[in-house]
Amino acid sequence: MAEIDSSGGGKKGGKKRSKKMSTKIDMTPMVDLGFLLITFFMLTTTLAKPVTMQLNMPDKTDTKETSPVKLSETLTVCPDENKVYYYQGIPTEAGTKLEVTDYSDTGIRKVITDLKAKVGSNFTLVIKPTKKAKYRNMVDMLDECAITNNKRYALLEIDPDTEALIKRSGK
C-alpha cells in the first residue's frame, strides 16, 4: 500500500529531520459520501419521471352518424369538488334520481363497477364536470375509467338541465 516508512533509519547522523507524516489517509468517509450521492442521484432521476394519460376527443368536424347509445346503458357522472353526482336517464324527467357519492374506492368506483357488471360491454360513462370542479376531479374520473377498464366514456360540458337537476335535488 501507499505507505512510506517514516520511522527513519535509526539514530545515525546528526541531521535533525522534521517528522514525516504518513501519506496514507483513511478514505472511508469519502467513499461513504460518494455512494450516498450516487444513491441520491439514481433515485431522483428515475422517480421524477412524469407519466401521461392520453385523452382522445371526438372530431368536431366529423359529422358522421355515430352508433346510438341506449339510456339504460349510460351513466352520467358530474364530478364536483369533493363529491360526485350521478344519475341515469334524462335530467329533465321527474323520475330521474340524482345520487351523490365520493371519490373513494367504495364510492363512485363501486357504482361504476356494479352498473358495468349489470349492463355489460355496452356500458357508457358520460362525464360532465360541474362549474366548481377542479382539473384533478376530471383526471380522477378518467382514472376511474382506467381502473374499471371502461373504454367507452365521453367528456362533455355541463348543460343547464343537469345543473338544474343538481340544484333541484339540493344535495
Binding site: 500500500m1 501507499a2 478514505m27 472511508t28 469519502m30 467513499v31 460518494g34 455512494f35 450521492l37 450516487i38 442521484f41 439514481m42 431522483t44 432521476t45 421524477a48 419521471k49 412524469p50 407519466v51 401521461t52 394519460m53 392520453q54 385523452l55 382522445n56 376527443m57 371526438p58 372530431d59 368536431k60 368536424t61 374506492d105 364536470p129 360541474t130 362549474k131 370542479a133 377542479k134 382539473y135 384533478r136 376531479n137 376530471m138 383526471v139 380522477d140 378518467l142 382514472d143 382506467a146 381502473i147 360540458e157
Partner: protein, 201 residues
C-alpha cells in the same frame, strides 16, 4: 510440533479503487441527470394510475395551466419556437430586434399577451418574471391568442404532440377552454401529464 498459525492479514484495505469507481459513477449520474425544465409557475399535476411514460420523440408542445388559471406554452422544438415568434410578431406588428429574439430563445416558456410582447422581450426572462409580466396567454373567446401560438407551432412542425399539464387545483373551466381551443384546430389527441400513483388492487 507447534500449532500452525494462520497468517494474519491487515484489516485495513486499500479503498482508492472503490473511491475511484464511486466518483466515476457520481460524475456520470450528475452529468446525465436532466434538470427539471424551467417553469413559469409551480405546477403540481394530479396523480393517476397511468404508467405510460412521456414520449417526446417528435417534439412536444406543452400547455401548462397554473393554479390561478394562467395558461403557458412551451415547446422543445427550437425551429417551431422561432417560427412561432416570427409569425406572432408579424401578426401583432411588433418589430423584432436581435436582443428580443435572444431573450425569447433563452426562456423556454411563453406566457404573456401579445400586447405586452415588446415590453417583455426587451428584458431578461427572469426580470420579466420578477416584474409580474408572465401571467399567461389570453384564451377567452374574444381574444384567443393561444389558438394562434398553437396554430403556428403546428404549422412549423405538424408532428408536435400536445401535452397538457394542469395543476391539480386549477379550475376545470380553464381546461375545458384549452381543450375547446385545440379542438377548434382539429387537435383531438392530448397527453395529460400526471404524476404516478399506485394501482388499486
Amino acid at each position: 510440533m507447534p500449532k500452525v498459525k494462520a497468517k494474519r492479514h491487515s484489516v485495513s484495505l486499500d479503498m482508492t479503487a472503490m473511491c475511484d469507481v464511486a466518483f466515476l459513477l457520481l460524475t456520470f449520474f450528475m452529468l446525465t441527470a436532466k434538470f427539471r425544465p424551467e417553469e413559469a409557475v409551480t405546477i403540481t399535476p394530479p396523480s393517476s394510475i397511468s404508467e405510460k411514460a412521456l414520449n417526446a420523440k417528435d417534439g412536444m408542445l406543452t400547455i401548462s395551466v397554473s393554479n390561478e388559471g394562467g395558461v403557458y406554452l412551451a415547446t422543445d422544438d427550437q425551429m417551431a419556437r422561432e417560427f412561432m415568434l416570427e409569425r406572432m410578431a408579424n401578426r401583432y406588428g411588433v418589430a423584432l430586434t436581435g436582443e428580443m429574439k435572444k431573450n425569447y430563445m433563452s426562456s423556454e416558456i411563453v406566457g404573456y399577451p401579445a400586447g405586452a410582447m415588446r415590453q417583455v422581450l426587451n428584458m431578461k426572462p427572469s426580470e420579466a418574471k420578477d416584474k409580474g409580466f408572465v401571467k399567461g396567454i389570453p384564451i377567452d373567446s374574444a381574444n384567443n391568442e393561444l389558438s394562434y401560438w398553437v396554430g403556428y407551432a403546428k404549422l412549423s412542425n405538424p408532428e408536435l404532440k400536445v401535452a397538457i399539464k394542469g395543476d391539480q387545483n386549477s379550475s376545470y373551466k380553464v381546461f375545458a377552454d384549452v381543450i375547446g381551443t385545440l379542438q377548434a384546430q382539429n387537435i383531438n389527441i392530448f397527453q395529460l401529464i400526471t404524476s404516478p400513483e399506485n394501482k388499486p388492487k
